[in-house]
Structures are given as C-alpha cells and as structure tokens.
Amino acid sequence: MKPNATKASSVMSQALQVETLSLNNGATMLFRQDEEAARLAISLYFRGGNSIEPIPGMADLVDRLLMKGTKNRSQEDISIAIDSLTLAVDTDTKRDFSQMVATVLEEDLEASLELMSELLNDSTLAEFDKEKEKMVGEIQMEMDAPKNRASDGFVRTLFEGTPYNVVSSVLMDSLPLMNSIKTAEAHYRSIFRPENMLISFAGNVDQARAVRLFEQYLPKSATTQKAPIPPNHITLKTFVEDVIVPFPKDDSAQAHIFKGWHAPALTDSDYYALNLMNTILGGAGLSARLFTELRDKQGLAYNVRSSYEAFRLGGMFYLYIGTEPSNKDRCLEGFKIECQKLMDTPVPAKELDEAKANILGRRSLYLETVHQQANYLGAQVMMGRTVSDVHEMPERISAVTAADIQRVAQRIMSQPAVIAVAGPSNIL
C-alpha cells in the first residue's frame, strides 16, 4: 500500500474530504471515514462504459448477467446471499463507466466484499439468452409511458453515430446482434480488472482495515487480457436545421416535449457557466425562469424544467415540458423566448448571485449520506475530473460572470436543436 493522501482545502465540504490510496492489486481507492454513518458505501467503478462496448448495450447486458450465476452459485443462491447480507447492490453501465454500487452494515462488510468479488471474478454469464428476452419486455414497459418515448428519442437523435446514444430503443435494436456469449465473456474479462477500477468508499471503518479487505478481495487480475482504452473524443453529428422527432400516441393526455442541444463535457471550461445558466433557466426548481413564466404565469404545465448532463467527452442541455396537446406550439414559443433572452441579455447580478448560492448550498443536500458521497466522487473521477477539480467547484462557480453565461448561451442555443415530441398524431 502506498498512501498518497490528497490534502483537503479548508473551504471544502467535509463530505468530500477523501484520501486517494493506491492498492497493491493496482486499484485506486478514494477513502473517507465517517463515524456518524449507520451503513458503509462501497462503490466500484470500471472505466469505459458504453464508450468501449463491442456492440451497443452489451455492457448493460453484462451488468445484469453478473447477478445470474457464478462458478459456485446459481442465480437463486446469489439472490439469497444478497438478501441475507441486506446488501443493497446494483450494477449499471453509464456512457463512460460501469459501476457496482452497494451499501451494507459494517458487520457484513467482509462477507459482502467476498460476494462482490465472486460476481466480478467468477460470473458464468449464465442466462445470456433469457436476460436478453427480459430486457425486451422491460424496455417495452418503459416505452409505454409517452414521456419516456420522447426522452429516449431525443437522446438517441442528439448523439446518433456515437456511443453516447445507447438508450433503451438503441439497446432494443442491438439485442438481436448480441448472439455470441463469447463476445460478452471477452467484455466481462476485459472490464472488471483491478487496474481498470476505482473504489470509492465511505463509512465508519478505519483505513487500515478497509485497505486490507479491499486488497484481499477485489478483484483479482485473472487474465492477461487488457482493458480497452476509452476513446478520447466522439464525433458528434452536426445538424443544419432543427430536427423534429415525433412519437404518435393518440390516447396521450399530454404532449411531452424535449428540446435540446449538444453541450460541453464535464471538464470543459464552460461547464460552470452552463451549470449556472441551467439553474437560472430551469434547474433551480420553483424559482427558475421556465417555471415562473410557463407554469406560474401561463398555466401551461405542471412539469417544466431544464437539465444539463455532462459526461467525459460531451454533454447535453435540454428543456422539457408536459402540456395539454393543444398547447404544444405555445410551449415551443415560450421555450424560444426564454432561450433568446439568455442569448440577448446579461443575467441580472442578483439573479446570478442567487443561482451561485443555489448551486453551492445544494451540494450539502446531495452529499448528505456516505452512499451519495462515494457515488458522486467516483462518477466525477470516471468522467475525467480529479478530486482537486471537484474541490475547486466553489471558486470556479464564484468566478462565472454574466458575460460568460451569455456567451455560453449563444454557443449552445444558437445551434439547430433536436425536438422530440410524444403526443396525439394531430399535433405532431
């Protein structure tokens, strides 16, 4: 073990005070001891995610198969073991990484690590065909909500031609291509390896014990196969005009509208300015512009907001509204007016200060539990930030000016948009 403590800055939230450790199996661990926490958070990250899978969605399928059988245990044995440990464990693949995140009582730490290690080292990927079939049914169920259809179509179109567009409908289309368990096995063997792994741990366990247990159990380097190297860029499609993506559903009570653009990656210098712009436009909640203008003043919606999601190689910024179908054009007009305002007029100083305070204050809320802390830091690092980048957030937010926001608004929203709408066919 080579402890390599990262000194925390004094202004930083206590929740983010971690030590960065290198384990003897090649893995990196972000460690934080929290004496107040009732449970422990064990979050394991593996670089790559959808960006390195051989077939779109293959990593998602492999995630599920981790729980379906190992050399020593059947699916049912695994389920009973997980429930007996009350191990809240989930596997998931995101654009830039795969993860196995868990929370557990301290008394069950060792047994949980032993089990998680078995899943990562010795899965047989049994039930390959059955899981594919189950995924079809689950996706169909998800798509039975018109809002999900529109959301799926928006992301799929925006990131078309890149590995960032692996949404449910893409997965559905590529499931028939996943006809070889060998491809899944190769992916499994290459991803879940210590040198490709980041451990983010928080809870009431002393450091020496945590290091000893993680070195003992997680995971062993079983093969000589190298982990695929994630790409350094993705080539985004350029849109020459607005693209409309319609999803007719005649018994839909509302029109569900997503409108959005490509946006800067997490490490882009405009990240913080866009984060603030999003807060002002529709991210803050009840006091954001979209909410007060389209909901409070015009009664056009119950749910209206904007979102900015940033990843390692790109991002997306979008607006959503669910509205009575006959309101569709008024809502799109409302979107246009609010976006144009941000491009034309600097945000007033008071509103900017409030948005900054919102972002800084809200951090305590999403970092309240050890689980949230471990997951937040782990995901940030997987998407290209360092722990000190994360610590710098307050200074970086404070430095953003109204001119920065106006420039970022123009950079993003002067481009053609992707607009996905689910609703009755007569309004599409």
Binding site: T86, R295, D296, G299, A301, G322
Partner: protein
C-alpha cells in the same frame, strides 16, 4: 413553554426525539442530528379524507396555492429565498395528509434555518391565496376558452400527466372498487378537471381555515440545533394567536371509517389503452395501522412475497421461468389511518391477464397454504426491515417524513419509534396467520390495463 415534553428514542438515531405538546393542540418534534443539512416538515392532518364529491381535490389544490404568497411575502418570494440558499422545497397531498417541507444547508450563523422556519410558518398560517394566482373559473373541456390560465390549469395539467401513467390509471380503478360510496378513500386525491376548473376561491379559503389549525398541525425539525433556541424560534414563528379564522370553526378529524362491506359485486375491471405491455394491480384491505403487530406482520409477508431479490414472486415468476413471463412484479403495504391496503402489481407481455392473475395467485395460495413462510425467509425479512430503518436514519428528510407519516396515521410518532422493538416480538406463526387472514382471493380487487385491439393486432 410547552405543556408536555417527552423524549422518545428513534431507531438508529444517536439522540432521542423531543416531543413538545402545547395547550393549543400544536405539536413539535425535534430530532437532533449532526451534519450539514436541516429539514423542516409540517404535516396537516387533512387530505382527500375530508373531502366530498363537490370539493374533491381541494386539499391538493390548496397545497399548490399555499405557495402563492402571504401578507409579508409576495408570490414567488418564498421559492426564490429558499432556492437561493440551495434548499429544496415542496409539498405533497394524499388521503390522510398534506405536508410541506424544506430541506436546506445549515450555515454557521444559523441564518438559513431562521429564514426557512420564518417563511415556512408564515406560509402555513397566513397564506392569502390571491385571486389572480388561483385564476378565473373556467370549463377545462371548452376548447374555445381563451381567458387567463393560472394555478387551476397547472393542477389540470397535473391530472393530464397522471393520465399518461398506466400504473396510476389502474391504481385508481382498484381504489374505486375497494371502497363503498360513503367512504372518503374512494376518490382520487387530485380531484377532477371539472372541479379544479370551477371550485370557487371562497370554498378553498374556507377549507384552509377549517383544517389548518394548531390541533391539526404537527411540525418536525431534524438537524444540528440546540433545543431551547429551536423551541423559542418555532413558537415565535408558529404563533396561532395571530391567525384570522373569520368565524370558521376548526374541523373535526374523521377518526372512524365507514364500514367496508364484504365484497359482493365488482372486483375486477379491464381498462384498455395504446400500450405494448399489460399492467395489473390487485388490492386487499389490510389491518388498521393502530394494530402495529399485524401491520408489521403484513410487511414481513410483503417482503417475502414480492420485495427482496429472493422473494417468491421474483424468483418463481421473474427469474426462474425458462421463457420470461413478467417484466416486473412487486408487493407492498400502504399504511392509511382508516385501514391499510396490501398491493400486488405486475407488468407482462405475452400472456392473458387471466393467466397472469392465475400465476400470481398460485404463489399467494402456496404461501397461505402448503408452503408457508419459512424461518429463513422470516429472518431475512426481519433483517431487511431493520436495515430499512438504518437507511431512513441517514438523511434529515427521510427521518422527518417517517415521523410525519406516523403522526398522520396513528396520531403520534409511536408507529415509527416502536416499530423495530415490536418487530422483535412478532413471531413466524403470527406472520403466516396474517397472510392467511388478509390475502384471500375472494377479497382481492383487481384492475388490468390491456392493449386496445387495434394495437395488439399490429
């Protein structure tokens, strides 16, 4: 200042909760919790339980309108003040309750908390519900209406949003079958488009004055505070002497449920829609929440039947069949003041609803008959339920919400505070007895959503 003070241990919380009861009927709970986050919750013991066919939806509509300003603060000022400190604010209405919350970051000077408490109390006690914010009365089904649309339309849009959720639609169908005409739980909490479009502002204000009284309100604070200072702050802000009731008398809580007759008619309903998959919910009347032992026993049943990864429905119908049948299956008990409800819900693709129901029933009947819950299953469930309490103790907001739900269902926090202790006394025999008592096929109410023929032909 308080007329009665008690300290009550809370599962997995380092310090016991303070219960402070006052002469006017108002109750304050304070749970000391270290950390950077505070939560303020106020629970009003009214929801659709106190509505009728004329004003159905008024509790929820009022909840929206409470955010529209007071004599001291203009509409929007509260939202802006809270969100500019990073706080999350919202409210929710259901059958037994309406509650309002603020989760915020603590600052060293205590200004965030002081401001949040002041504005929260002011909103609850002194909302003005301005006419311009409610919006003019209108017929929401009139396509030619071109007048102003304000909060009435927001709620009507919320009704539309719920109509695009297939689970919500069949839940409502089950709910309607489960209760007789005279029962207040029969109605959908959100009301109807027509009522929300036309209910006069005066009716809403009268409802507000009737139910938002000290006796019917409980405030819960969780955070890193000193009791004496906190109590003084709360009492200063929640000064009910200043509230103008305009002669409206305080509402009496409905405590006794109208009798629910044994089912003799409609217990099955089929809905259709433009869907690729099919949805099913079955509901059963459960025990009173005051019967903690039976409530806990039925929670154990739910865990074993359909909650854990190793649960019966998950293993037998989701995981083991060679050809997948169900896309999702789960169970749960909802705790309501006038009687709990046990639900089974599932989604499936390629079989008929009758077959789906039959498969689920086979598992329920096995559990209630030849294959009762085993000691191993029971032990796993008990441990899982303990860990649920550990999880709840991790955030200020989940502690406050759990205490609040207890207050509105059984009158105080005992349901939550005593649950784990009572769980240690629940026996496997009791759990199996409760399963047989409540999960009877002749007492199930089921609604299914199936694809319209035109869709299934495609």
């Amino acid at each position: 200042m308080s007329t009665k003070q008690a300290r009550i241990p809370i599962p997995f919380c380092k310090e016991p909760a303070y219960q402070l009861s006052y002469d006017n009927g108002f109750t304050l709970y304070f749970v000391p919790k270290r950390g950077e986050v505070f939560n303020i919750n106020t629970w009003v013991k009214t929801g659709s339980i106190h509505e009728d066919d004329q004003n159905n939806g008024v509790s929820h509509f009022l909840e929206h309108l409470m955010f529209k300003g007071t004599e001291r603060f203009k509409p929007g000022e509260f939202d802006r003040a809270m969100e500019s400190m990073g706080a999350v604010i919202n409210a929710a209405t259901w059958k037994d309750f309406t509650f309002y919350y603020i989760t915020g970051p603590k600052d060293s000077a205590g200004n965030n908390f002081a401001t949040a408490l002041d504005m929260h109390a002011d909103m609850l006690l002194h909302s003005t519900i301005p006419d311009g914010e409610v919006g003019p009365v209108y017929n929401p089904d009139d396509p030619n209406y071109s007048g102003a649309k304000r909060e009435r339309s927001v709620v009507i849009e919320e009704i539309g949003m719920r109509n695009d959720q297939p689970w919500t639609k069949i839940y409502n169908a089950v709910n309607l079958m489960m209760y007789p005409d005279a029962h207040p739980y029969r109605r959908d909490v959100i009301g109807t488009r027509q009522i929300i479009g036309t209910i006069p502002r005066e009716d809403i204000i009268r409802y507000y004055r009737t139910w938002y009284s000290p006796k019917n309100m409980t405030t819960i604070v969780v955070g890193d505070f000193d009791l004496e200072t906190l109590e003084a702050q709360v009492l200063k802000c929640f000064n009910f002497d200043d509230v103008k009731r305009h002669g409206v008398s305080e509402g009496s809580l409905l405590e006794k449920a109208p009798a629910i007759p044994a089912p003799n008619g409609n217990r099955y309903q089929t809905l259709t829609g433009e869907y690729a998959t099919q949805f099913l919910i079955s509901g059963f009347h459960g025990p009173s929440p005051n019967d903690l032992e039976e409530t806990i026993a039925l929670d154990v049943v739910s865990y074993v039947l359909g909650e854990g990864r190793s649960s019966r429905l998950t293993q037998e119908l989701l995981e083991k069949p060679e050809k997948p049948i169900f896309n999702a299956l789960s169970t749960g008990q909802s705790v309501y003041k006038l009687g709990n409800v046990f639900y089974i819900q599932g989604n499936f693709s390629d079989i008929s609803p009758e077959e789906a129901q039959k498969l689920v029933w086979q598992e329920v009947e096995k559990l209630c008959g030849p294959s009762p819950i085993t000691q191993d299953e029971f032990s796993r469930a008990v441990k899982a339920m303990k860990v649920d309490f550990a999880e709840t103790s991790e955030t200020a907001s989940s502690i406050a919400e759990s205490l609040g739900e207890s207050v509105v269902t059984v009158g105080d926090i005992s349901h939550y505070a005593h649950y784990l202790e009572a769980l240690t006394h629940v026996t496997l025999e009791k759990v199996n007895e409760v399963a047989r008592k409540y999960l009877r096929s002749e007492r199930a109410y089921t609604a299914v959503m199936i694809p319209e023929e035109s869709v299934s032909d495609n």
